[in-house]
Symmetry: D2
Subunit: 137 residues, 4 copies
């Protein structure tokens, strides 16, 4: 059983382009919010707290693959069904199913890491923290 | 020999997030602009003209796959090297290599279609128009 | 008594800039959504319907004046209290008070028009339609 | 003689809304970039350097007033003519004239401060630093 958290998103006029449909980069804005929302719903503290407690400053994106199935437009309300499809030692696959009620709109699989800061300020992948994984399963 | 068009993009303060790096949905904003810019540089008329002449209202995205290699931040100037990696009968693969001079930052392969309107207003994939393909090769 | 409609907005990580506060153009994104939401809550049909029935294609912005009182950051939930402060013959003043519960965050007064299309495609201000005004008071 | 710096901005498809014109919050995105660009062109170091040298972490916006004169759409190239119209003791007025070649598109006057951090992390207005003012006049 994989835990699924649903994030709801209204589509606004300004999210749509001259073709009157959602301009696709906006889906990634919403998916990023759904990603953070997933961890919060699972009880993971906000990143500015995990930075102090375990060095995790966020979950930077390494790879994303999305399929656009149906268009959406303003007035629509979308549901983003978010889960972690796979845990790896130093990364994880976060999965999104965007629907308009029963209709599939878009699907996305991302590879993210738990990022920490190196001394020179650059980012590195930390081993997946057990306490975060336990909260999300 | 594949034709490559370079689109240049400044990174601004507001493109960056609290981690001080480009918030990733902004890469898709820029890639969408680079896609349109590619066709314009190849001599393809703007979509509001092709809509009248051949029914093409744009190149909606069907699938996208991106890898994030290095972070970028404000003050950076990026180059988006854009080409068509593959022509299919009713779609094409548009490829992007985002660099900061010699450093690779991000890579993306998209499947797009040439979209036309059905009578009910919905979108359908048109056969790749020969005259557009010729201009882009 | 002026009618006030409240639009709620979560602040997301990606809405914030490297100073860790909401990047101000995002307030205008939300205010524009609150503007449209106001008319919908008042019972005004969507613009693609009013375009057919009374020629109104939207409420383009002519002038906006905003004061930024307190910063907001991700995790915050904001309320946008929206009303029409003044009806003129060919324009109206739409007023927004953005709060985080009891705290004022931002205030904005806009002048908008009910826009119609001229034959050449350009926009013109229509007289404020009585039926819309009645619904919003 | 007031110093004016010009920032150029292409309008992209995704900057436009279903009415096929620039969605107005995008003007504020560009104006914020023009603001930062003004200081850089005047020789002011980036904010992460001024933070160390004089405590200035940026120029947060206090008040903005904009007039929208003509619409713009994708394919347009805009010029943002930026200057400081007035220096006050703890704030300044930054002025923008957005044109499409000879045509005025939009005008904006902002009040900004030079922001520093209080010990509790909140922001306060610093006296306008003489060395910055001298560079910008």
């Amino acid at each position: 059983m994989t835990r699924i958290v649903i994030y709801q998103q209204r589509v606004e006029f300004g999210d749509c382009d001259p073709a009157r449909i959602v301009w696709f980069p906006n889906f990634f804005r919403w998916i990023d919010a759904a990603s953070r929302h997933f961890f919060i719903q699972c009880g993971v503290p906000p990143w500015h707290e995990t930075e102090k407690s375990m060095g995790v400053i966020g979950t930077p994106l390494v790879d994303t693959h999305a399929k656009f199935i149906r268009t959406a437009s303003y007035g629509d309300v979308l549901q983003i069904h978010t889960s972690v499809a796979e845990w790896r030692s130093k990364s994880f696959v976060q999965r999104y199913r965007v629907t308009r009620n029963d209709e599939p709109i878009m699907e996305c699989d991302e590879v993210r890491i738990f990022g920490g800061r190196r001394e020179d300020g650059s980012m590195r992948a930390l081993p997946v923290p057990d306490e975060i994984r336990r909260l999300c399963e």
